[in-house]
Amino acid sequence: MSDTVKAIKKHVSWYMIVGVSLIVLTGVTVGVSYIHFGHSGNIVVALIIATLKAALVASIFMHLFWDMFVKMAVIFKVMIFTAIFFTGLMALTLWSLKDEIRTSSSTPGPLFRQSAPAPAEEHGH
């Protein structure tokens, strides 16, 4: 069991380590964002780091790691299905909007018309 006193005593040092490494990873993700990996390269790197951090929070702070094989099978099932539906919502929506009616010769255009006006002029600094 994961929440005996003895086990939690061992975990306390993990909480510290994970806390510090999360802050370090925050620094890393900011630092890396100044390096140019190409447009989608930066997105991939940032999301990988964010996922790593999220996994650390979920597995250590939220105890999923220690509970994984011991108990909470119900929670795992719920979260797995939540993840599937979340992915479905994101992917299928995007696919629907991207998959336009078009002939094979036409080139894929933007999903819909959108202009992005520059932010308002009066920058204070």
């Binding site: 806390g19 964002s33 108990k71 006006p117 932010p119 308002a120």
Partner: protein, 268 residues
């Protein structure tokens, strides 16, 4: 007849009731923020010339600082729970009871939440000051919607944590929040000179006459009495521990959402 497994774990699921409840709630929260992130992706992918967040006037150092604060609060939150669980918990060889350690860590968590919201409102103030509103640009629309909703979650988590710290703290927090909300609504009218100035002065007077004494009163109550969690700690320690764990799960989730929000909004 009492409801079973409110405190003890049910043997075949290994969970007590509230833990099932909070995880289901978190599942729904995943879908809530999932839909908002989907919106962001759809609007971004669908744009000709998306301007990344860092080309706007978001302040990366401040955002980084806020991220660190929230991560720190997550750490103190889990330490608060661990302090309750471990009977002879102590750090730095201090001779303090582990329940007091719990209150120290929980207090730090709430403090971090306050810092986070303070910095956030400072950022918001900067945007509004430069006339950057949700309607200014789709990026700001996303920025304000997502961070605003997240800030609401932070505040909700703080209220619960304050309640666990002591009922007085919770009341004080809500009172202060309502006061600030009042000021935020009537404060800007002071600039516009459309007669809102009177309302602002009324608000300030309201704060001075009622808010400050109230705040001091609640602080006193907080220190001297009205410590329901200490009472529960004596009568039913396991229930208090479970409450802290459940509140912590929510707090970690809020942290987790921010971990994604920060790079997505500030860096990409």
């Amino acid at each position: 007849m009492d409801i079973p497994y409110t405190i003890q774990e049910r043997p075949d699921t290994g969970l007590y009731n509230a833990k099932v409840g909070i995880w289901l709630f978190l599942a729904s929260e995943v879908m809530l923020f999932g839909a908002l992130f989907s919106t962001y992706i759809v609007l971004r992918v669908g744009s000709f010339n998306w301007m990344p967040g860092r080309d706007f006037d978001l302040n990366i150092p401040i955002g980084t600082f806020n991220t660190a604060v929230l991560i720190l609060s997550s750490m103190t939150m889990v330490m608060a729970w661990a302090a309750l669980k471990i009977p002879n918990f102590t750090m730095f060889n201090l001779k303090i009871d582990h329940f007091d350690w719990f209150r120290i860590f929980l207090g730090l968590t709430i403090l971090c939440g306050l810092i986070f919201l303070g910095v956030k409102s400072f950022e918001y103030y900067g945007k509004f000051h430069h006339h950057h509103f949700p309607e200014t640009h789709t990026f700001y629309a996303i920025y304000f919607t997502l961070t605003g909703l997240h800030a609401l979650h932070v505040f909700g988590g703080m209220v619960v944590n304050a309640y666990l710290f002591g009922r007085g703290a919770c009341t004080a927090l809500v009172t202060v929040a309502l006061t600030i909300l009042y000021m935020a609504i009537f404060g800007p009218m002071h600039d516009t000179a459309t007669g809102g100035g009177a309302a602002f002065i009324a608000g300030a007077a309201w704060l001075g006459i009622f808010g400050l004494p109230l705040g001091i009163f609640f602080l006193a109550v907080l220190i001297w009495k009205n410590n329901n969690s200490a009472e529960m700690w004596k009568s039913n320690p396991e229930r208090l521990t479970n409450r802290v764990e459940v509140s912590g799960l929510f707090w970690h989730f809020v942290d987790l959402v921010w971990i994604f929000l920060f790079p997505v909004l500030y860096l990409l």
